[in-house]
Symmetry: C2
Subunit: 448 residues, 2 copies
Amino acid sequence: MNQPLRVGVAGLGTVGASTVRLFETRSNGISANTGRPVRVTAVSARTRGKDRGFDETAYTWFDDAGEMAASEGIDVYVELIGGEDGPALESVAAALRAGKHVVTANKALLAKHGLALAKLAEENQVQLCFEAAVAGGIPVIKTLRESLAGNDVDHVYGILNGTCNYILTRMQEDRISFAECLADAQRLGYAEADPTFDVEGFDTAHKLAILTSLAFGTEIDADSIYVEGISSITLADIDAAEELGYKIKLLGIAQRTESGIEQRVHPTMIPKTAAIARTDGVLNGVAIDGDFIGQVVLVGPGAGGDATASAIAGDVADIARGTRVAPFGRPSGELVPYNRARMRRHEGGYYIRFSVFDRPGAFAKIAVCMAEKKISLESIVQRKSKAKSTAGGTAAGAEGAGDPQPVIIITYETTESAVKEALKAVEDAGVIATKPQIIRIEAPHEQK
Amino acid sequence: MNQPLRVGVAGLGTVGASTVRLFETRSNGISANTGRPVRVTAVSARTRGKDRGFDETAYTWFDDAGEMAASEGIDVYVELIGGEDGPALESVAAALRAGKHVVTANKALLAKHGLALAKLAEENQVQLCFEAAVAGGIPVIKTLRESLAGNDVDHVYGILNGTCNYILTRMQEDRISFAECLADAQRLGYAEADPTFDVEGFDTAHKLAILTSLAFGTEIDADSIYVEGISSITLADIDAAEELGYKIKLLGIAQRTESGIEQRVHPTMIPKTAAIARTDGVLNGVAIDGDFIGQVVLVGPGAGGDATASAIAGDVADIARGTRVAPFGRPSGELVPYNRARMRRHEGGYYIRFSVFDRPGAFAKIAVCMAEKKISLESIVQRKSKAKSTAGGTAAGAEGAGDPQPVIIITYETTESAVKEALKAVEDAGVIATKPQIIRIEAPHEQK
């Protein structure tokens, strides 16, 4: 049997502590699987002496992660510090330069510096692994990078943020508002005190940037991602989606189109029957469409200490086994520049909810604006908003002429620019009370 | 760049032809991904000169697969001949002995000879890969063997046969009988002329045997699998499942219990809300429960030339990249003997459908038999069978005393032996007209 593989873990929050415990519990199994003993030998965190569920004194302690990263005593550096720059970046770079393999769960770091770090790993002939950075325990990185090597992938999309999925699921199941759900999620520890990063879609965007690079062999470009969060979603939208046969999910979507590659994060209406539509609560789910495989869907826990530790252990096992694979599926020098498809050229169906003044000809005006941009309508729904009546509001008194009424349309496939221009014309016509709500519709390839 | 990896493909049916075409189309991508050119150089089949969608003359032709397997001109032997013995076994063994890596989609071969072949591969220091043998394009082998290396897996189950899943889905959706569905499946090419192997569960059992070994580190033991097929499932069962909140799926299940490892294949009632319950049509789906990951579910095409070719290409890419991993996740010498849990000790809920003579005290007798075996009842449903009335049967005339009536019970968790003994007592009591229908209930861990 080979020399033991010595692992140093930096950052001992929930994931770090689970990772240390995993290697304590499962070292025999991992050793049988990889043919090499694997053990954590060193740890690093800001505060020493906290109860983290393991005996700290069994490991060499480093106050400075960067020092541990480059130390003689480790072969693999596991970075769980977080943050796109600072100590995370410095220690990862230090580890790679010192010829240590790196395993990280840090999507923000990879979204910003992934290409440079991949180059550094290649120069130093070490592995840079990050299964835990996207969709927690779900093996989506390995599937894209290795299992689907024989496919031309043209579409990857998924639910990549458990906080948003929890909120949208609760809104639908319990018929409570976004704000109430968010407060609940914060209370249960599913959402941060400052939830912006999750609910406005930035976390999803970081993860999507990584998947895009792997799926299409392109350089990571997180800055080009179109990002919309879920804070504007109302119960009226949730109800309408239900009625029309859809569910609303925050998706990260990367898609090859004639005008380049689309990368977008936004609330999406997907048919209830799609596997991703039925991925609820804090679960994550990713669908991958390839020319040979058709579609494969992976569903599982997208966060949590133990599930994330499982992904980290999988990466460490690959390293122990001696597996060598380019971080983004091909050598960094062969990744092609990301060719951005402009959002205005996006093609798809749209859900649009108007608040229309209740006066003769108002809806006719909307219909004309749509027709002028050659947008065909698949459905039109006009009804009292359930949200209003549930709130014990002014349902009875609201029927006087002039009070705005919700009108929802579903368009056939059109373009983002046509929709935006038509809505501009509608707003200029003065027939709607508030800015229309737009939710893009994703009609996944049907699984056969 | 390294020397090209030369692949020989034996068996040029649907999967073999797709595989050759995949490598023709995707060789640049695979080469970028693996750092090594990969190409098919030789092919073998029984009949030369058929139109298989590629130019046969571009490859060295072998009439004899075994000869190709051992020839100087290939580095990887892809076996797509099929069959648990004969030319498949001989050629695979010849390839391994000649120091060639082997990729196979042959679950029957592996279920019978997997351990011996793994040993042979290890002795010759070559890889034996079989992602395509279980659940077609879905990367379940790699997930169990590599991604979940840090987990203690205690439960793997899934829909592993597309033919059965298609039939059960059609029965439910179109309300037609098993026999009608089977005939349709045969007409559409989803079922063989002799469907026994699929519908009686043997194909699922072969695949399950492979998953069990990977999940638990045990020697393959396909002969110990409890196997029941779907041919006894009636519309009455499908309707009752629907009404009670379940779906009926043919599952392969491997589960660690206190008395050993259960391996069973049988029609199963699973809650409608479980991800596997919603895997319909010819799709396959596998759920894996591990102590760290929780549950991960993989869904995708379980058969078909292109999807299977995708899995084969993934294996060949691993070989090209130089990945080395024990076929069953640990060296064959470290696989432990399979410790069979007896079916009679199986614990779970049961669905039992009786055909009860319509006379006073008949059901009371059943209830007593159950109670005597300490079986508690969760639900009791007595109603006219929809199947009967749909068939334009004798619903109106059937109400005379003495005509048997369907009565369905759902038990709380009990044991197989208690159920079998209680049913023996019920039969002996002469209150039922036909043998009761039993379907085991699987209540998967809820995903959080």
